[in-house]
């Protein structure tokens, strides 16, 4: 069985590479056929731009700027969201009172606020962090509330009858039962953080990958615009897979009982 999976993985990897190659070939054929606007770059041009970007200092500093804003905004959102969520989710009255406000907030497209935010805070890295934090807050908050709310009635009753102290209850009952939900919220918001950071840079010309994309587009350097887009996707993909992996390890106990 073990060796079987190993050789199967091999062929799977090669087939995956083949799929990517086919996609790229289709892309190139479409370019040659002339159905796309003439400025769209071909595969070789994008590939050489990707290589060029890796060697350039501009790319690395843009990447660092984007990542810094995304990660700091995300961390702020995770801390605030978890604390607020645990509080709101465990106090019923608070849960009811805030539900409309939270529903409104989570369905609010924060990027639509960009002109307003730029007016208030200027096109700075701090502004970018604020917008990222505002966007990442909702998934964490909503998930944490769900997690804190959803406790088996038997557990709730047991805790009440034995008059478990509040802090112990929080640490041993509330937190473990909410953790899987919080983890999902954290994972979702991590992907959002990159998306929003790049989006903010596109709209406000704050330094970072997003700004490089618009600059390249304005300078008619389409190949490098696509190269930066590729890296933006790669970063998002890398973060999502990493967190998925981490969640699987940390929450092993939960997955096992669920399956």
């Amino acid at each position: 069985m073990k060796t079987g999976t190993k050789s199967l993985d091999w062929s799977l990897t090669s087939q995956r590479l083949l799929a990517v190659a086919i996609l790229l070939a289709i892309w190139q054929v479409v370019i040659w056929s002339g159905t796309l606007p003439s400025m769209t770059p071909g595969v070789p041009a994008i590939a050489s731009s990707i290589g060029g970007a890796l060697a350039s200092a501009t790319f690395w500093s843009a990447l660092v700027q984007t990542m810094t804003a995304a990660v700091s905004g995300w961390l702020i959102a995770v801390v605030t969201g978890t604390v607020l969520g645990l509080l709101i989710g465990s106090v019923r009255a608070l849960d009811r009172s805030t539900s409309i406000l939270i529903d409104f907030g989570r369905s609010f497209p924060v990027l639509a606020l960009m002109p307003v935010v730029i007016m208030l805070l200027g096109a700075t890295a701090q502004m970018e962090t604020v917008v990222v934090a505002l966007s990442c807050l909702w998934p964490v908050l909503v998930q944490t509330i769900y997690g804190a709310r959803r406790m088996e009635s038997a557990v709730v009753d047991t805790v009440r009858i034995f008059q478990i102290p509040a802090f112990l209850r929080f640490r041993r009952v509330l937190l473990p039962s909410a953790t899987p939900f919080i983890a999902t919220g954290i994972r979702i918001s991590a992907s959002i953080s990159i998306l929003v950071a790049v989006g903010v840079e596109v709209l406000s010309q704050t330094p970072g990958i997003g700004r490089q994309i618009t600059l390249a587009q304005q300078a008619q350097r389409w190949d490098s615009a696509f190269a930066y887009l590729f890296f933006a996707g790669l970063v998002g993909w890398g973060i999502a897979s990493l967190l998925h992996f981490a969640e699987g390890r940390i929450l092993k106990w939960n997955r096992q009982t669920n399956d």
């Binding site: 400025m39 409309i100 307003v116 007016m119 998306l195 596109v202 887009l229």
Partner: protein
């Protein structure tokens, strides 16, 4: 009937548990209902009141009073400036979402049913999903112009991935026994998709569309903030570029309200489409 049978008798209940239920029983129904409504709405009223009072005599040019924001919102809504823009934007959103749902469901059904294909294209799908939607906007608009088509394609591209991935998950969740049944009775492929796989995956698909909706709204606004000559995003951008600050706020606020209303409408729609599902006891 079964509900009461499952619950312990109130006499044998622990006093600590009985206390809470007694308090709830005392109030009459209308009073309880009014209290519920009050409990749900007071905070939003307070927030708006604070906003109103705090900005009432604001001297900061960039923070206009809520009164003037609402006044300009009311004016531009009634004279049709915003309304036509909103109709344009929402039309784009609807077309984009429709394309995304159609492509996502069809692709998801195919990929969900064929394990090999799914495994092969899995990394590609996850990569495309991770591409920042807002970053696509300059490329697509730069290449295809500021017309309606490019905006719809961008929305469709961004909204497709959650629908696709959720459809795949939904298809994978089809009860194995039902799947075997369908195979044993040699249900034709088309019928199998339409009557077995699709209904079973529907709750997941609807959840995917729910995720796609706010993404679509964001891309809709961003595509117009970037380059447009009409629409809600254009209204916001244009008013901020001409320093009509209350109008900028009004536009952003309106987008938020539209987002909220659409998500409420979607919940209603979801209840209708999935009535059978919620009735079956799933939460």
């Amino acid at each position: 009937m079964t509900d009461t049978a499952l619950r312990p008798d109130s006499k044998t209940e622990h006093p600590a548990l009985a206390r809470r239920s007694k308090v709830e029983r005392v109030r009459s129904r209308p009073v309880q209902l009014a209290l519920n409504v009050l409990q749900r709405t007071w905070l939003i009223v307070v927030v708006f009141a604070i906003w109103w009072v705090a900005t009432a005599d604001s001297s900061n040019v960039f923070i206009p009073s809520l009164e003037s924001i609402l006044a300009s919102l009311g004016r531009d809504l009634s004279n049709g400036v915003i309304a036509s823009g909103a109709a344009y934007s929402l039309g784009n959103l609807a077309s984009g979402l429709l394309i995304a749902v159609a492509v996502g469901i069809i692709g998801g059904l195919i990929l969900g049913e064929t394990k090999r294909l799914r495994e092969i294209v899995d990394p590609v799908i996850h990569f495309f999903r991770s591409v920042p939607q807002a970053a696509l906007v300059p490329l697509i608009i730069g290449a295809f112009g500021i017309g309606q088509g490019p905006k719809i394609y961008t929305i469709a591209f961004a909204c497709m991935w959650p629908v696709l991935l959720n459809t795949i998950d939904g298809v994978l969740g089809v009860e194995p026994t039902i799947r075997k049944f369908s195979k044993v009775y040699r249900i034709p492929r088309g019928l199998h998709f339409r009557k077995v796989v699709l209904p079973a995956a529907l709750p997941q698909i609807v959840a995917g569309v729910r995720v796609a909706l706010p993404i679509g709204i964001t891309v809709m606004v961003v595509s117009e903030l970037f380059a447009a000559n009409k629409g809600l995003g254009f209204y916001i951008l244009n008013s901020s570029a001409t320093f009509q600050v209350p109008e900028t706020w009004a536009g952003a606020l309106l987008v938020g309200v539209i987002g909220y209303i659409l998500s409420l409408l979607f919940i209603v729609l979801e209840r209708r489409i999935l009535g059978w599902y919620f009735k079956s006891g799933a939460k």
